[in-house]
């Protein structure tokens, strides 16, 4: 019984030009109450934060606590 690969848009968007995950920053990942953010290595070898799990309360600590203003929290499409 294989699992489906249904696509979903996610509310938290990270500007990877501003994100300093490469320097070891994990602030947004650390503060998220739902623990939905992770760090990933991009094709160019640099790291960035991204929203891995679509389980967001759009509560904003990730955006508020980001030291470089790289994180934007949008409303999930289903309720906006």
């Amino acid at each position: 019984m294989p699992l489906a690969q249904t696509a979903t848009t996610v509310p938290v968007v990270v500007n990877d030009d501003l994100c300093i995950a490469d320097k070891g920053c994990t602030v947004c990942v650390d503060v998220c109450p739902l623990d939905v953010l992770r760090i990933v290595e991009k094709e160019d070898g640099k790291k960035t934060a991204y929203m891995k799990y679509d389980e967001c309360w759009y509560c904003m600590p990730c955006e508020a606590d980001c030291p470089t203003d790289a994180v934007t929290v949008n409303l999930p499409y289903l309720l906006k």
């Binding site: 109450p33 623990d35 309360w57 759009y58 509560c59 600590p61 929290v73």
Partner: protein, 582 residues
């Protein structure tokens, strides 16, 4: 991260506090102050820096009892009436007497409260009778201020561990079994006392948006406190008294009685008419809200467009920045503006939360549950309408009492077999090759909650719910499948949500009367004081299913006159015996 690892560690402490939101940090600080030698551990499924209902802050205190504005007697009376008389007043009265000290303490932490030109607290009137609402101009700093205090007091903080079951032995609490949410490794914490501050069961009903995490409560508050207390054998009180709140339609922000109300905003029907006397959240008010929503004058709206520009700007400043900072984005996206039109409202999904109703783990005025050494405070304990300040104050009571309790006891012995059994239960979804993912188990449970448990409550529908929940439980126990440690956390939450759904159905079936307005509107039954002027206590029965008993309401500390008892009963504008809100 998230890879499933095999591991089991055991640590010992004096006091384990589960939940680092509001009640938990205050319990930790008070316990440590009372007994500086005590080893106090504060454990959270998320990160204490930003966990719980006040993750981003809070707009104000909804229930402050401040000398000169209200008396403890008056507050106790108000909450007793608002809760239809089913209230052990000792806990409410003690809260009312001591919450002012907590306000001053929070003030000393750097959390400011609104003051007038004379430096007096600027308390607003929202409730039917008294004056208790105190705005917090820098309410966004609450968690940071608390965290500073925790560091200063050297509280041991453990983040990203989810407690799944309590351990008991020798007739008292012995600790908790916890699992790492990013590695699935186990941590057994032995403790002489355990304080639970795990918040509401906020992921019980499904919000109208259909988004699983678009709940009124912080979606990480999935009801572990209720489930753990239940499985440990503690009593839970009045679970049929659901939480249902008035919200902006599709958005989980309150409407909001406490911010917009004191500034002249109110709830209106489609014709712009006020239809409830008092916007204070009570079951009776929600019944009127529901009736208007379903009637020909619905839907229901938040009306602010009659207010002056500076007033609306001030309301926006509070509502859009602190407690629900995405609210401005929501209105922008919808093209709605408080100045130009009324804003559509709706009712929230159901949940358990004593912050706004009265359901929760049964506690006394010391925050003690029915299990020695086990405490509960905040949204999950049954002190009615206790809100954020109640979480702080009752958390303080728990911390102080636990510090005394541990002085005379050693760690209770428990059966290691319980740990083995729990590891097997928790890890079962990781041992399968495929199956049903937790989000589908959760979605189905919560959709059934909406279909069959939402008030008005109908016996035949609730019986269907019970039958369907059993089917979902069979599917969950035999076929739930997870791929990593994060999904395992969701699987454990799905299990908790199903426990809470079954408790909600069972408790609602047991109380064969209507009470608390919409919260327990059983359409086949009238209110019946003769048989049901009592608490209902739910425990885990011998057969592993919910068992029930009635428990007397303790004699009142503050007497309620006959003609005061119905002050909250007639909330509709124009009803004869109502008391005007203004």
């Amino acid at each position: 991260m998230d890879e499933i690892l095999d591991g089991l560690t055991q640590i010992d402490c004096d006091i384990l506090i589960i939940g680092g939101g509001t009640a938990g940090p205050m319990a930790a600080l008070k316990a440590k102050r009372k007994n500086p030698e005590a080893n106090v551990v504060l454990l959270d499924k998320a990160n204490v820096k930003r966990s719980g209902a006040i993750s981003m802050g809070m707009d104000g205190l909804n229930n402050s009892v401040i000398p000169g504005y209200a008396t403890p007697e008056q507050y106790t009376k108000e909450i007793t009436i608002a809760n239809d008389g089913i209230c052990d007043q000792a806990a409410v009265y003690r809260y009312a007497q001591e919450c002012y000290g907590i306000i001053q303490e929070l003030d000393s932490f750097g959390i400011r409260f609104q003051k007038d030109q004379n430096g007096e607290y600027d308390v607003k009137k929202v409730h039917h009778i008294g004056t208790y609402v105190l705005p917090m101009p820098n309410g966004d700093t609450v968690k940071k201020a608390l965290y500073r205090q925790l560091r200063k007091a050297r509280i041991n903080i453990i983040n990203r561990f989810m407690a799944t079951r309590l351990l008991t032995g020798e007739g008292r609490v012995a600790g908790a079994i916890c699992v790492n949410t990013r590695s699935a490794e186990f941590l057994v914490v032995r403790a002489k006392a355990v304080i639970m501050g795990l918040g509401a069961a906020g992921r019980l009903g499904l919000p109208t948006s259909g988004y699983l995490y678009g709940t009124y409560e912080n979606a990480s508050n999935s009801g572990e406190g209720y489930a753990m207390a239940y499985h440990a054998g503690a009593g839970l009180a009045n679970l049929e008294c659901y939480q249902i709140n008035p919200l902006i339609k599709d958005y989980n922000g309150p409407a909001c009685a406490y911010v917009a109300g004191p500034m002249g905003g109110y709830t209106a029907n489609a014709q712009g008419e006020r239809f409830i006397e008092c916007d204070y959240w009570s079951g009776q008010m929600m019944q009127e809200f529901y009736d208007e929503l379903q009637g020909g004058k619905g839907p229901v709206y938040l009306k602010l467009n009659h207010l002056a520009e500076e007033t609306v700007a001030e309301i926006e400043r509070v509502l859009h920045i602190v407690e629900r900072p995405t609210r401005g984005h929501f209105h922008e996206g919808r093209g709605t503006d408080y100045r130009k039109q009324m804003i559509e409202m709706h009712i929230s999904e159901i949940g358990f939360c004593s912050g706004h109703s009265a359901s929760g783990v049964f506690v006394d005025e010391h925050a003690r549950t029915t299990i020695p050494g086990l405490y509960a405070a905040g949204d999950m304990a049954n002190v009615p309408h206790n809100y954020m300040l109640g979480a702080f104050t009752n958390g303080a009571f728990a911390g102080m009492d636990a510090a005394v309790f541990i002085a005379d006891v050693d760690h209770a012995n428990f059966d290691m077999g319980e740990v083995d059994a729990e590891r097997t239960r928790v890890l079962a979804p990781t041992k399968r090759d495929d199956g049903i993912p937790p989000n589908q188990i959760e979605y189905k449970t919560r959709r059934l909650v909406n279909d069959y448990l939402q008030p008005p409550k109908v016996t035949a529908k609730m019986e269907l719910a019970q039958k369907r929940f059993e089917e979902v439980r069979d599917d969950m126990e035999s076929g739930m499948f997870v791929r990593d440690a994060h999904e395992l956390m969701r699987a454990l939450e799905a299990s908790t949500i199903l426990d809470c759904a079954e408790m909600a159905a069972a408790a609602s079936m047991y109380r064969t009367e209507s009470r608390w307005g919409l919260y327990h509107n059983r359409v086949e039954y009238e209110r019946d004081d003769e048989n049901w002027f009592c608490h209902t206590i739910l425990t885990k029965g011998e057969d592993g299913k919910p068992a029930h008993k009635k428990q007397d309401v303790k004699p009142y500390v503050v007497e309620i006159a006959e003609d005061e008892k119905d002050a909250y009963a007639n909330q509709r504008v124009g009803s004869s015996s109502s008391v005007a809100a203004e």
